[in-house]
């Protein structure tokens, strides 16, 4: 569950001493129930990525309150945020953000290594998740040996491997062709149903937004009324 209350954030832009204050999030309120897929759609510069970064804890809001899974994360330190993310939040990136020197298996294994999980348990967990996202054939392939769709599946598997309840996706299909995009969206929906996962998807693609349960439009740092999808 995600609750954002009156979130405001301002960027300082310009040379030192001549900075300009640009508000990017203006009094944003958002409620995402557990097991929901919520899409936030908007043009470039509308503030949707900033909102996602604020939920993730990469940015501290100037004002407001963030509650994730009933925990107030607004004022957590960097280390506390990292610990919280490791347990509760998974990330799907537009450009996959895979480690080039690691195989698909090792990339997915990485969060479990950070958690300090033992080798045998890690192996079984990763194999299970790879099977679930359809990556059985490519476990020892390096990212540059994988297609865009496969790389995004690896990224999704890495987000899911620690069994989080919240997945934050920043333009998850932004680098994919329409056919692969469809496959990935189907996978997200299927995972949402299987694991009761909460998804927040940032996109500028109407089709992606339409696949969500709820769709919010972001404009000039403000979140507009929710549109409920037929999905």
């Amino acid at each position: 569950m995600i609750t954002l209350t009156n979130i405001c954030h301002t960027f300082s832009i310009g040379k030192k001493g001549q900075e300009r204050q640009v508000p990017v999030l203006k009094d944003v309120n958002l409620q995402v129930e557990s097991g929901e897929i919520v899409a936030i759609i908007g043009k470039s510069g509308s503030g949707k990525s900033t909102l996602l970064n604020t939920i993730a804890g990469f940015l501290k809001p100037d004002e407001g309150k963030i509650v994730l899974n009933h925990k107030d994360t607004t004022h957590l330190s960097e280390a506390e945020h990292a610990k919280f993310r490791l347990k509760n939040v998974g990330f799907i990136f537009q450009n996959f953000q895979l480690m080039p020197g690691l195989t698909a298996f090792e990339n997915i294994e990485l969060p479990l290594k950070i958690q300090g999980m033992g080798k045998n348990t890690r192996f079984q967990t990763v194999r299970k998740i790879m099977e679930r996202v359809g990556l059985n054939e490519v476990l020892d392939h390096y990212p540059n040996e994988l297609s865009g769709g496969q790389q995004q599946r690896v990224c999704i598997a890495r987000a899911l491997v620690t069994n989080p309840s919240i997945i934050l996706a920043d333009e998850p299909t932004g680098s994919l062709d329409s056919e692969t995009e469809k496959e990935i969206l189907e996978l997200i929906q299927s995972l949402n149903q299987s694991f009761d996962l909460t998804f927040v998807i940032i996109t500028h693609d109407e089709e992606v937004a339409n696949s969500a349960h709820k769709k919010y439009r972001m404009h000039d740092g403000q979140l507009q009324e929710a549109i409920y999808s037929a999905v």
Binding site: N53, A56, F58, L59, E78, A79, A82, K83, R85, L86, K87, V89, F91, F93, Q97, M99, G101, L102, L110, P111, K113, I114, Q115, G116, G118, R158, T162
Partner: protein, 430 residues
């Protein structure tokens, strides 16, 4: 993250930047090896000098002098704690002495001593045993060569170098009778004593030393001094005829300092080898510290390389660090991984440096005497055991601590920089 996984992570990155890491390790190795080899010279020379000092005497020996303040009382000294034996040797330094074993004659020195105390002090003989009776003597190791027959003297006249010809008594001295004659040239009177040789003293530890003394039991002292006084005139005082040297032997090395202090407190003037060693050790400590300091500068220069390598690693891996942080790696973990990488460079560099240093040290000890011999044609360089370089484990520990410590410190700042990387900026990098 488990320690093994952290090590794997570091190893993976080292593999990826093999060439860069190799050159950094090489610089660390050179710095550390320079430190060890440089300091090993001081350790080696100290060992050689120590050996020289120790070969001169035993460590448990404390010489006691009568500097006019206090008469030496062996019985009192013996009562002191941890005193094993007290030997008091009395050198007869007056008169014209001639010793002869059959046709062999010479002028050795005569020393009166307490054989039981010598035995207790564990002063070993090369042959025979310490005499039980007053007519038994122990002759010095070189007495057999000092006593010459007329034939020997003729041989010596022809060949000045005694080492090239066989002179003196060739067979065993044990059981032979030795006669000591003190003559007064003016009155032509004589004092004669005959003894049986029961023991031969130890071989002198230094090549140039010769032991030509005849040690007789101190039981003979009173009568002999009286006779010699009669022979040379009653006016001669006993103190002028004899010269006493007293040595106290401690039960073990640890007791030497305490006994020495107790003797000094009693008003005796003393000297121990350990005193000399202490002074020498202090001097070498300063030398070693100086050389280690110079060697540390080499390591500090190598640390600039580690700093550069680690700074480049952080810059190159900014995106990776961003991803790690995004998926839940704590800043502490990120810092630890980078510090471990610099420590890895330090450890590998140090291990190689230690191996190289031992090889260099061994080669120096083997080759330098030969080179010096070739340059000077002096055979002593080949025969004497001068150690030019020694690497004790303490030096390895000091060098490793400096080298690995400096490596960790060099990686500290880049590692701190890595923890401060902004996730959003990092994820935007290609």
């Amino acid at each position: 993250m488990q320690f093994k996984d952290q090590l794997d992570f570091v190893r993976q990155h080292v593999k990826k930047n093999r060439m860069r890491i190799f050159t950094t390790i090489l610089a660390t190795t050179m710095g550390c090896a320079f430190l060890i080899v440089l300091a090993s010279v001081a350790f080696g020379l100290q060992n050689s000098l120590k050996k020289e000092v120790l070969s001169d005497d035993t460590l448990t020996r404390i010489e006691v002098y009568n500097d006019g303040n206090k008469e030496i009382e062996p019985t009192e000294i013996k009562k002191m704690k941890n005193v094993n034996a007290v030997t008091m040797n009395t050198l007869i330094q007056t008169g014209n002495l001639e010793a002869n074993i059959g046709e062999y004659k010479g002028s050795p020195e005569v020393i009166l001593t307490d054989f039981k105390e010598n035995e207790k002090a564990n002063l070993k003989l090369s042959k025979g045993t310490y005499p039980e009776k007053a007519d038994g003597v122990v002759v010095g190791y070189n007495v057999a060569q000092i006593l010459l027959s007329k034939e020997d003297e003729k041989k010596l006249e022809k060949e000045k170098d005694a080492s090239k010809i066989n002179i003196g008594i060739q067979e065993s001295m044990i059981g032979k009778k030795i006669t000591l004659n003190w003559k007064n040239e003016e009155t032509k009177k004589k004092v004669t004593r005959t003894f049986t040789i029961e023991g031969v003293g130890p071989k002198p530890k230094k090549e140039w030393e010769q032991d030509g003394t005849i040690r007789i039991s101190k039981e003979n002292e009173e009568a002999l001094v009286q006779d010699l006084k009669t022979l040379y005139g009653k006016k001669l005082k006993a103190e002028e005829m004899i010269y006493r040297t007293t040595a106290v032997y401690a039960t073990d090395l640890e007791a030497v300092t305490a006994i020495n202090k107790a003797l000094q407190d009693e008003g005796y003037a003393t000297y121990t080898v350990s005193q000399q060693l202490e002074e020498m050790n202090l001097l070498f400590l300063a030398l070693k510290a100086g050389l280690i300091f110079v060697g540390t500068i080499a390591i500090l220069i190598a640390s600039i390389g580690i700093f550069n390598t680690m700074t480049m690693a952080v810059t190159e891996r900014t995106r990776e660090i961003g991803v790690m942080k995004a998926i839940g790696a704590s800043p502490k973990l990120i810092q630890r991984l980078f510090v471990m990488e610099s420590a890895y460079i330090g450890v590998i560099g140090t291990v190689i440096a230690v191996i190289i240093s031992y090889i260099v040290s061994f080669a120096a000890n083997y080759a330098i005497p030969k080179i010096l011999y070739m340059a000077t044609n002096e055979k002593k360089f080949l025969t004497t055991e001068i150690q030019f370089s020694a690497i004790p484990w303490q030096l390895v520990v000091i060098a490793a601590a400096i080298s690995i410590g400096v490596a960790i410190l060099s990686g500290w700042r880049p590692a701190r920089k890595a923890t401060k990387i902004d996730v959003i900026q990092a994820l935007r990098q290609d």
